[in-house]
Amino acid sequence: MLLIRRFEEALIAHNPVGHLSIGQEGAIVGACMALRDDDYVTGTHRSHGHPIGKGADINPLMAEVFGKKTGICKGLGGSMHLTDTSRGLIGESAIVGGGFPIATGAGLSIQVRETDQVSLCFFGDGAANQGTFSESINMAAIWKLPVIYFCENNGYAVTTSVEKSHGQPDIARRADGYGIPGIIVDGQDAEAVHAVTQEAVDRARAGEGPTLIEAKTYRFDEHSNRLAIPIEYRSKEEIEYHRNERDPISLYRATLLSRDLLADVERIEQEVAKTIDAAVEFARESPEPDMEDVWDCMFSNPINFPAYEGEL
């Protein structure tokens, strides 16, 4: 959690780009803790947290947000697309709702290849209104695919509240329409999230099919730190309340301290700070990608396709 927080704080300081997960780290990390390295994950435009939660190397992630050649996606994907396949990530879709079918397809692949992996699909409350949500969940239900649909319900899609955009506000309640379990959990409590996700993962590995989990969480910052929002769509009090009372990191820190783990906490805090500093340094000093990288990444098998010839 702290690594995600500090990663994004470094971005605010050094390269203010993108959609931040600050406030939502408990949901992300709680979910990822229930997964193995070889389990699949699809993510969203709010993409920084997912690979970090899955344990990806920080340097290539940071370099990617800086648009550098050493970035995990060679500087071609960027802030909304931090995908590290070595940790099971198979795409962070900036098309809202784009991940549902892809995660479901990974579930199908697991079933056909008969491995015991699972596939977890992170999505936002707003994304639940895309048709791909119901289409994909229904397919996973009929085929009993090992997929966990994990909603980071932060209450808003840009400026639009869940109450104003959903016939009823509990996304997990839609699960019943497809005959699968739907579970609501406090997303600011990483251990609670971990527990319900673990149950869903176990069900999935046992061949019992998909689960829909809705973690109620909150985004502390604006939708994106590149978009000016001209209206007040949520109150300052609401934001302050969440920052002060409902910060998943403060809450978990308190839990750890109550377990007498102050020394460990402090050690981790120092390690995280070092990791982030090193990553910023790495990203800054890395070279820019070339036009050749652009052409090279188009096709696996470029029969008869032109290659880059320096024309631009």
């Binding site: 500087g75 960027g78 840009v158 639009t160 955009s165 209206i231 188009m298």
Partner: protein, 323 residues
Amino acid sequence: MRNSVQKLSYLQAIIEAEREEMQRDENVILMGEDIAVYGAQSLVEEFGEKRMRNTPISENSFVGVGVGAALTGLRPIVDLTIASFCYLASDQIINQAAKLRFMTGAQLKVPLVVRTSTFYNNRTAAQHADRPYPLFMNTPGLKVLAPATASDAKGLLKAAIRDDDPVIFFEDINLWGKKEDVSTDVDLLVPIGKAAVKRSGSDLTIVSVAGCLPHALAAAEVLAGEGINAEVIDLRTIVPMDKETILTSVAKTGRLVIVDNSHKVGSVASEIAAVVSEEAFESLRKPIQRVATPQVHIPYNGALEKRLFASKDRILEAVRVII
């Protein structure tokens, strides 16, 4: 007010067009995601939530809701925000909006406007940077607009709103902030289907598609310094295409460069090249040059991205080949 002007940016001109048409006709409504965010905040205040609909993230359906509303007495403007989302709604646009009048033997009409912005040169990477004019160009039943100035944006959008057929209106975010004098005449429409000659010349023709215009004009300026007079045509309407203006120009100049930020294969530029080589073959003195985006996706890295799109230098390079 008839003959006065006001300084407006391209985006402000669009909002003004919407305001004027919503004032004129209570059946005009606006729909889209986070409708107040992209400049339309004042419209929400003026017209209220009944006519300003903040939609869920359900592109195919809210465009289709626009179709249904258009069939039954309203004149909806649907904002698809980023043009990459057109692919989510292409079913309702192509299979329904474009076809319904025809398939019912003209019992129905579909006075729908879909606004959408091409978000390139903005470091948003490949899933947000499409310029999918060709998708809709190939579909009968649609009118496709792509203005390059604030005045045209206002006048064409007003014409689109008053039109009884479905219209796709492409904005270019690289122009959103550009200011110019725009007429305040509430009945001044820019005719759909007419290109604009922005600069006349006799040595070669440059046809500019959508947001390429500033680059085309800059290139023409450089050429003028060298004694080469380029005629610059702003296409403005992609469908129906104003062949006449283009063919007349090429008949005079015999040389054609087309500047288009869509991907080159199957681009608007390709269509123009095909039409000209079919219908002005005898007057063409040199091969047509297409300055378009090569067949690669748009990278996140800003410096690389910029090189893929139209620029003064790329246009000049193409001109040098045929001059």
